[in-house]
Amino acid sequence: MDYLIRRVSLFVPTMLAVSIVVFFLTRALPGDAVDQMLIESPYITEVERDAVRKQLGLSDPLAVQYVKWVGQVMQGDLGSSLFTKRTVREELAARLPVTGQLALMALALSLSIALPLGTIAALKRDSWVDHVARLLSITGVSVPSFVMGTLVLTYLSIWFRWIPPIGYTPIATDVWRNLQQFLLPAAILGTELSASVSRMTRSSVLEVLRQDYIRTAESKGLSRGQVVRRHVLRNSLNPILTIAGLQVAGIMGGTVILEVLFGLPGIGRLMYDGILQRDYPLVQGLTLLAATVYLTVNLVVDLAYKVVDPRIQL
């Protein structure tokens, strides 16, 4: 419990650091939201631009703007989009389920492919199974999801005149249509992610297979299956958990491209549009959310170490 309190209390300075970096980095980008808004106004003067900046609260010194924003955030108010005027919270509520579903499905697919594949590859080391598994892993690592996504969409449309229904239907509205929309992007992202997990699983299982306690288990008469299930897999899990945890960041990045390709209205697309428009409150809010998710997942992974291996002292 002490560990948990210590880790959670570390969230505060970490988030503060993230907020400083994201706030000042977004303001350091060339051009600003006002330039984007007034792009089509031929008579606009610099005085009028400044007036708009003032209206939007962008004319205060940066430090003042930062303190105001952090004050708002601490009260649970992430602000409103400069363009749509919708609150960042509303935008998140609309988009989070999409990215969340895509990420979870991709992670589930990734693990369900990678764990058996990596384990089998290690158990059948240097056999054709191992070679195929390694080839798939290398392919998965080498082919980025935007290439795979584009190829899949293009060839499906040419060969079958079919692609998954573009857009988003909530799962509560139509389960089948929702699954049609998510399965392919989740499979592409999952396959890409499974490559590194599969490689790590193979290495980790091979490492464990060399341990004395595995020989002991085999010599006391346990079957191969029992050895793998009871001793090999459990002892191989910690490095795999680390990689899977780190992949959360990869998933959040990977969803941006796949959301664009498959027309899914998720967080990634929102972030992309926000950056292009210099919609500061939106970008800042989304980055804080990403940082929170990342920190939380890492905390969960660290806690999971203890569950998987009780010998570990947190």
């Binding site: 980008l29 060339p30 051009g31 600003d32 330039d35 984007q36 808004m37 007034l38 792009i39 089509e40 106004s41 031929p42 008579y43 606009i44 003067t45 009028e48 631009r49 007036a51 708009v52 209206q55 363009f83 749509t84 005027k85 919708r86 935008e91 609309a94 988009r95 584009t150 969409l153 293009t154 499906l156 449309s157 040419i158 005149r161 079919w162 692609i163 229904p165 573009i166 857009g167 988003y168 959301e259 664009v260 390709l261 498959f262 027309g263 899914l264 209205p265 998720g266 697309r269 929102l270 549009d273 292009l276 428009q277 210099r278």
Partner: protein
């Protein structure tokens, strides 16, 4: 009062040598549009549907244009019902066209709102015809001094039967309120400049609106039909403060539902004053990636897409041979802007040398497989106001020897080094800039190309903190949209400087074309101004590639003008 002709531009006709309508230049089924990555970012929905249809598929029974006194006839061949699926590259950031300059806003709210006048958007409209017709206006007149315009509204126009207008009748006061709102003197009202020449808008009676101008403004009717000049109801401002999140107009379609990032849907307005609307729904699917758009089109999830990449169109026609092609008349012309306030380009001989060294024809052949026209100053949409195409072609003679002589005379026998910018949002410009680089190398002009972030590029352009860059030509239907905006010292987006005395005659011509009401005389001014700008080598055009819209065979009655904000959907139907 003298009656204003109902067809804007009458007396000014496209030249006989019109490149686009010349049969030899009309695209054959098997010769596709030239691949152009220049229009990077793709053609927005604003372009979809401009121009004429050709190639496979016929769309019989085209409806007649909405005339000032009548409504579109419903041909028997077109059926009521169905959903048209079109693509949007981004969400409309706002539904208020007065506050938002994004094309995605205008194209989405276009079918919801009406204007006093609009450009005809029927199949029988030729490219560049720019035929203006009454939308809410039944007729309109101007005083001989051109300072007062009076519009009579149609009878029986009702607001859509939705909150907050609930089907009440449209009155002149609505029009006066809306256009006065549009010209609110607040920088956030980014469309206010369109009505800058207006001093007063008032409702004379329930059916009559009067505009009083500060001074004569020849393109006034173009401003009234401008993509910004929609009529929004007072109730929206009373109830919602502005029109960002709510839209209710008098147009052929009603806002049905919106899911940001996914789809925005319009449904038929059963009470539309302009006659039968065929489509039950129009669905805008947000899909920014062009490869995904093509895949969705092939899979019949999108009915209409645009493309200007030759190979892409060829591939689509191979897999979907019954696809209908619509010809987009330009609107993606490109020009080279050289900052004449910066040395050594303040010397017209240096600018002329650059122009004479560039081989525009080779550029078109190499990059567009010949499928583009040479461009002067005006974009294709302004063809009726342009100098003849033959004159443009004669002007652009590549002559490296003459270029060398000009540079020598300017004192640059040993050439010079210069750094030009390119926006990272337009990577397709790079091959063109490399051709220019190669053409200038023999003159010892060493051009370095610097890629800059889009917002940075925009800022440099507006503050004239650049040496040169390539950019698109505005899709204006009136030449003032280019002459004033790109060249007049009062415009914040002029990019070239005409402040010096040597350019005063050109500035005078820009001013004169704004106040000349006689179309023939205005054409003469426009042409003289074009020649003057060409001879001054100030931001001249490079080329104007062909572009196309592709439609599924089931789409019927679809054709439009480029700036009509999807008013063409009211004539579109889905085949049985």
């Amino acid at each position: 009062m003298s009656s204003i002709e109902s067809e804007r531009g009458s007396g000014v006709t496209a030249h006989d040598t019109n490149y686009w309508t010349s049969p030899r230049n009309m695209v054959r089924r098997r010769t596709f549009l030239q691949g152009s990555a220049i229009a990077a970012g793709g053609l927005s929905l604003a372009l979809i549907g401009c121009g004429s249809k050709e190639g496979a598929g016929t769309t019989s029974g085209a409806p007649a244009a909405s005339s000032a006194s009548g409504t579109a006839a419903a041909p028997a061949a077109q059926k009521v019902g169905g959903e048209l699926a079109v693509v949007a590259t981004s969400d409309p950031p706002s539904l208020d066209p007065y506050l938002q300059s994004a094309g995605s806003t205008y194209t989405f709210v276009g079918p919801i709102y009406s204007k006093l006048l609009d450009f005809a958007a029927t199949e029988n409209i030729k490219p560049f015809e720019n035929k203006m017709v009454g939308d809410l206006a039944a007729s309109w007149e101007a005083t001989p001094d051109g300072l007062t315009y009076v519009f009579k509204l149609r009878d029986g126009v009702k607001w859509q039967n939705v909150d907050p207008v609930n089907g009440r009748a449209l009155v002149a006061e609505d029009v006066a309120f809306a256009l006065n709102k549009m010209r609110t003197p607040d920088p956030l009202y980014t469309s206010a400049y369109v009505l800058d020449p207006v001093s007063n808008i008032e409702a004379v009676d329930a059916k009559t609106v009067k505009f009083t101008l500060k001074k004569v403004f020849a393109p006034f009717l173009d401003s009234i039909g401008h993509q910004n000049s929609f009529i929004l109801p007072k109730e929206i401002f009373d109830k919602y403060k502005d029109g960002r999140t709510k839209a209710a107009g008098t147009g052929p379609f009603i806002l049905d539902s919106q899911r940001a990032g996914s789809a925005h849907i319009l449904r038929r307005n059963p009470d539309y004053f302009g006659g039968q609307v065929y489509l039950d729904k129009v669905k805008y699917t947000v899909l920014p990636d062009s490869a995904s758009q093509v895949a969705a089109f092939r899979a019949n999830q999108l009915d209409i897409i645009s493309s200007n990449q030759k190979n892409q169109v060829a591939d689509i026609l191979k897999s979907n041979p019954k696809t209908q092609q619509f010809f987009l008349p330009g609107a993606s012309g490109v020009r080279l802007v050289i900052n004449n306030a910066r040395k050594p380009f303040d010397d017209v001989r240096v600018r002329a040398a650059i122009d004479k060294a560039i081989d525009r024809r080779a550029m078109i052949q190499t990059i567009f497989d010949g499928e583009a026209r040479l461009m002067g100053i005006l974009g294709a949409n302004c063809t009726p106001w342009d100098i003849p195409q033959a004159e443009i072609e004669a002007f652009w003679k590549t002559d490296p020897a003459e270029a060398k002589k000009l540079l020598d005379a300017a004192g640059f026998q040993n050439g010079f080094a210069t750094e030009w910018e390119n926006s990272n949002a337009a990577p397709g410009n790079i091959p063109v800039l490399e051709l220019i680089q190669a053409a200038l190398k023999p003159l010892k002009v060493d051009v370095k190309i610097k890629s800059v972030e889009y917002a940075d590029w925009q800022k440099h352009a507006n503050t004239q903190d650049f040496i040169a860059f390539m950019t698109g030509v505005r899709a204006a239907t009136d030449p003032d949209g280019i002459f004033f905006r790109n060249y007049h010292p009062r415009s914040a987006q002029r990019w070239v400087e005409l402040k010096n005395d040597e350019y005063k005659p050109l500035v005078d011509l820009v001013d004169n074309q704004r106040t000349e009401l006689d179309p023939k005389k205005r054409l003469e001014i426009s042409q003289n101004l074009t020649r003057g700008l060409l001879n001054s080598h100030l931001a001249p055009g490079l080329y104007d590639p062909k572009s196309y819209v592709l439609a599924n065979p089931r789409v019927q009655g679809y054709a439009a003008h480029g700036l009509s904000n999807h008013q063409e959907f009211k004539h579109t139907s889905i085949r049985a």
